[in-house]
């Protein structure tokens, strides 16, 4: 008998998308002096809104507002009071969580179950977590040459975030910055500006002093103007390694403190003694969570040769139950690719995988006619020499390699310029700890994958960037 799940769409009625949006500067929405761009629903290609594209003058206005708010209000306020604002924001996010989740899924294409169960609650938790730090900063940096003195904020933080977790990345950036007494100018990604603009409204509801948070929308040029603005003290960026490089170059010789959270090509290592059903879940979650638009995605599966065939069979069987389609359907597991451009990149790299002789297997599923879609795909017979084993695809494409011994697994896992995350699956405790110790990655998930928590530091080695977000470590990038 076939169990057909009827459509179970989450209602869109809870969101109210305006036809156009301005910038949020100095506590108010203002029109930009530059042009505008459209943000679309990647699942339907429907235009959602026209959004102002901030030019250098707009960015300057926002930085000035942030500087004013820093000097006059925020840096003078007690930590306890700052914390109370953040607690308030955390609560309002929770109150408006369904609205934020639906809006996120519409603008980004991610399944509602993820925006509802992961993105938005984790974002609220992040504000709640850092709220509590605001009046405890003297405990944040043990003995860092500031004994006796409270750590000081840096000033104005320029923050540029990506489109894969628009609201969650906003929380990762804004919460620690505000807790430590900095003010913020944040640029959301051009394909996913809407939840950041809704956050501006939340700041208003929280009565946050004007200028403490400013949101400037736009694309690369806006981001560059923000990062390169001379009155910025801090740059925090999450996004591609190439842009991260450009930022690192542009701030050279300046006083700007920088944290970068960039790309990855994480190895997910499955040993022959793995709890295999959970490992398969971890593989699926590792690469198909959020359509694989995850910098820490487990995009390289390293499976011990003796169980490779079995694991791949189990993986295929599991993949056949993944439901691809309408992001707002509560049963959707894999949503839309965020943009035509990203879809193009995924296709190109997958074709390179074919051309290089890897064997492609795609989940048999129907894809919608409109919008940007890429069915969950695995490549077997991949070696370290394949481009799909080295380059970040940032899509639902898994490269599968094999290894024979723990040493070989570690050597292959570390054989990449990246070093953001890694996974280990084994029932042997001492082996897990040995491998975790050997891996050059900032986050190691053993017998689990893609877990995030405000209390847990996140960030990479080498070309995956520097600095950590989350936990006590996440404060370090915002204080001196």
């Amino acid at each position: 008998m076939k169990f057909e799940y009827a459509p179970a769409p989450e209602s869109r009625a809870i969101v109210d998308i305006a036809s156009s949006y301005g910038l949020f500067v100095d506590g108010a929405f203002t029109s930009g002096s530059g042009s505008s761009f459209k943000t679309i629903n990647p699942a339907t290609e429907e235009v959602l809104a026209e959004v102002a594209e901030a030019d250098a003058a707009d960015v300057d206005r926002a930085v000035k507002a942030a500087r004013r708010a820093y000097t006059r209000v925020w840096s003078r306020m007690s930590g306890a009071e700052r914390g109370k604002y953040l607690f308030r924001i955390a609560r309002i996010i929770a109150e408006r969580s369904r609205e934020l989740a639906v809006l996120e899924s519409i603008d980004n294409g991610k399944p509602i179950k993820e925006s509802r169960d992961v993105d938005i609650p984790t974002a609220a938790a992040h504000f709640f977590y850092y709220a509590g730090w605001a009046d405890k900063l003297e405990y944040a940096l043990p003995g860092n040459g500031h004994s006796g003195a409270d750590p000081q904020p840096l000033g104005v933080a320029a923050q540029v975030i990506p489109w894969n977790f628009p609201f969650l990345m906003l929380a990762w950036k804004i919460a620690p910055a505000l807790a430590t007494g900095n003010t913020v100018v944040l640029k959301p990604a051009e394909t996913t500006p809407l939840t950041a603009l809704l956050f501006a409204e939340i700041c208003q509801q929280a009565d946050l002093p004007p200028g403490v948070v400013n949101i400037v929308t736009g694309a690369g040029e806006t981001g560059r103007a923000l990062v390169e603005h001379p009155d910025v003290d801090k740059v925090a960026f999450t996004g591609s390694t190439d842009v991260g490089r450009a930022i690192a170059r542009s701030v050279a010789g300046s006083r700007k403190k920088v944290t970068l959270e960039l790309g990855g090509k994480a190895a997910n290592i499955v040993f022959d003694d793995a709890p295999v059903d959970q490992a398969v879940e971890g593989i699926v979650n590792g690469i198909f969570f959020n359509q694989g638009h995850v910098c820490c995605a487990g995009s390289r599966l390293l499976v011990q040769e003796s169980v490779a065939e079995e694991v791949v069979e189990r993986l295929k069987r599991r993949m056949a139950t993944l439901r691809v389609g309408d992001p707002l359907d509560k049963n959707t597991d894999v949503g839309a690719i965020n943009s035509a451009e990203q879809l193009q990149r995924i296709r190109e790299l997958a074709e390179i995988g074919d051309a290089e002789g890897a064997e492609r297997w795609t989940e048999p599923c129907e894809l919608p006619d409109h919008g940007f879609w890429f069915a969950p795909t695995i490549f077997t017979g991949v070696s370290q020499a394949h481009r799909i084993a080295r380059e970040e695809i940032f899509g639902p494409v898994l490269s599968i390699l094999t290894f024979r011994t723990p040493q070989e697994a570690v050597a292959k896992a570390n054989n990449t310029p990246y070093g953001l995350s890694a996974g280990i699956w084994s029932d042997k405790g001492s082996r897990i700890l040995w491998v975790a110790n050997q891996l050059r990655a900032g986050v190691v998930w053993a017998n689990t994958f893609n877990r995030f928590d405000p209390a847990s530091p996140f960030g990479g080695y080498q070309e995956s960037g520097y600095g950590r977000e989350g936990g006590r470590h996440g404060l370090e990038g915002y204080i001196k």
């Binding site: 003995g143 040459g145 991260g244 690192a248 010789g253 689990t448 847990s456 080498q462 936990g471 470590h473």
Partner: protein, 285 residues
């Protein structure tokens, strides 16, 4: 008849050995009064390359030693330095033209600095790492780990300057390539002799003498270097250009800043060259 001194040839310190520069070049080092002191090796980009290679090969072994053992090795450097303090005091007076008292202060501070760092080796992880109370059934723990090969441009202070930048880097398990003070390279090589006899494995510390502006850019752009300490770069343009070069592989960069080397060092001398690794594991039955 008076006896003729046997003079030391000052070479580079790479991979635990003391080679001459592959380029065959030297430069004249004068004393504080402008008199000839010695010909120092003028390191080339290829020497820098060899030094990075040595540092990289030493990294696996050094970083996987126990913290306790690294602490002992750093302490051993202090011991040997203490035993050769007269030599260093004499050298400092000759090269810098400082008083005996001043020279003693620097040697004292250098020995004490090494002892201070030696004690940090097995304590830092407890201070900057720890358990993270995540909202779920997970063991979650963060530990500091060495970032890898650190290229260091040492500041002017011939002995204390060098100790101040090298000790924090190696105590935590990194290996390094140091460009010694361009003005006072000789003491760096003498200190290298101390390291070579202090159980510091070859390649953990590599010392190049020569021109900052010539070598630093090669280290900054070298893909197998993980971090840069620009403490000794006093030319802002050079600092900016090497920081730009470092962006190519996203090296961690410690920018030059005013620092009183005699004051207790900040913890970020170590933490700037550490990665935080966070490990998750479910807790279940």
């Amino acid at each position: 008849m008076s006896r003729l001194d046997v003079k030391k040839t000052y070479k580079l310190y790479v991979g635990g050995a003391f080679p001459r520069s592959e380029s065959g070049r030297t430069f004249v080092v004068e004393d504080a009064k402008g008199r000839f002191l010695a010909n120092a090796s003028l390191a080339s980009r290829k020497d820098a390359r060899d030094a990075v290679k040595a540092a990289r090969s030493a990294f696996g072994g050094w970083s996987s030693r126990t913290a306790y053992n690294r602490g002992q090795v750093v302490y051993r450097i202090a011991e040997v330095l203490e035993g050769r303090r007269e030599q260093f005091e004499a050298e400092l007076r000759a090269t810098e033209g400082i008083t005996a008292a001043k020279a003693r202060t620097y040697v004292d501070a250098s020995v004490d600095r090494l002892v201070w760092y030696a004690g940090w080796a097995d304590k830092l992880a407890q201070v900057v790492g720890g358990a993270n109370p995540v909202a779920g059934p997970y063991f979650n723990h963060s530990t500091p780990e060495p970032t890898g090969v650190v290229a260091v441009v040492a500041p002017r202070g011939p002995l204390l300057g060098l100790v101040s930048v090298v000790a924090p880097v190696i105590t935590t398990g990194n290996t390094c390539v140091v460009i010694a003070s361009e003005e006072h390279p000789l003491t760096a090589i003498t200190l290298a002799e101390v390291m070579a006899t202090s159980d510091v494995p070859g390649g953990v510390v590599n010392v190049l003498t020569g021109k900052r502006a010539e070598i630093a850019p090669w280290l900054a752009s070298h893909a197998d270097v993980n971090a840069l300490d620009l403490t000794g770069v006093d030319d802002p343009e050079l600092a900016t250009s090497v920081e730009q070069a470092a962006a190519g592989t996203l090296k961690r960069v410690r920018r030059p800043a005013e620092e009183d080397l005699l004051a207790p060092p900040p913890l970020d001398r170590m933490t700037d060259f550490l990665e935080t690794k966070t490990v998750w594991h479910p807790m279940g039955i």
